[in-house]
Symmetry: C2
Subunit: 111 residues, 2 copies
């Protein structure tokens, strides 16, 4: 057998992956996720916690839910959002570690 080459990823797969990273590529949405670390919250609570405008928060929450990162649960007047996929926190932790390493390297270059 010839040397194994890395399997080619289809453009569609790359775009799917990119689209999902794009959902995390916004500070407002990251703030919402962070505010949900301790459990379910409704929209008004999230507005208070994050300082976002209500309409804005609602739109971001919809995006996060559509992407599958959040659950929405309707209860009377309130809509409760919660984490549907905890791996989102692993992603953030990994990325934070990556940031730390980069800043460390940047520091080396200056010193």
């Amino acid at each position: 057998m010839a040397r194994k080459k890395t399997k080619q990823l289809s453009p569609a797969a790359l775009e799917l992956l990119a689209a999902r990273f794009r959902v995390l590529a916004d500070a407002s949405r990251l703030g919402l996720l962070h505010a949900l670390m301790d459990g379910e919250r409704n929209v008004n609570q999230l507005v208070e916690l994050t300082g976002l405008a209500q309409a804005n928060a609602s739109k971001h929450l919809s995006q996060l839910a559509d992407a599958g990162f959040l659950n929405r649960r309707r209860d009377g007047l309130y809509t409760w959002y919660g984490i549907a996929d905890p791996s989102v926190f692993e992603l953030c932790d990994l990325m934070c570690g990556s940031i730390a390493r980069k800043l460390g390297r940047d520091l080396q270059e200056i010193a």
Copy 2:
């Protein structure tokens, strides 16, 4: 001691994290990273592997290097790029797993 509340993340920290996710939120850049899984490549090789235009590839490579995901190494006429932070592949793997779980859930809803 009062009930421990989740530590508040500063807007600047959220923006920093978001900016880093933004670098991964593009199919062309993900393709370049993927093409570098097997080791260093120069720009022309990456252009061939990905089908990107040279100027475009060069710009994306600069972004990836600025973010600290890639190294650049100059050798005569060639610029060799390589993975500086392998955790980028962990990030992609995690995200792919998250996609798979979401698609699984979507499937359930239809069935």
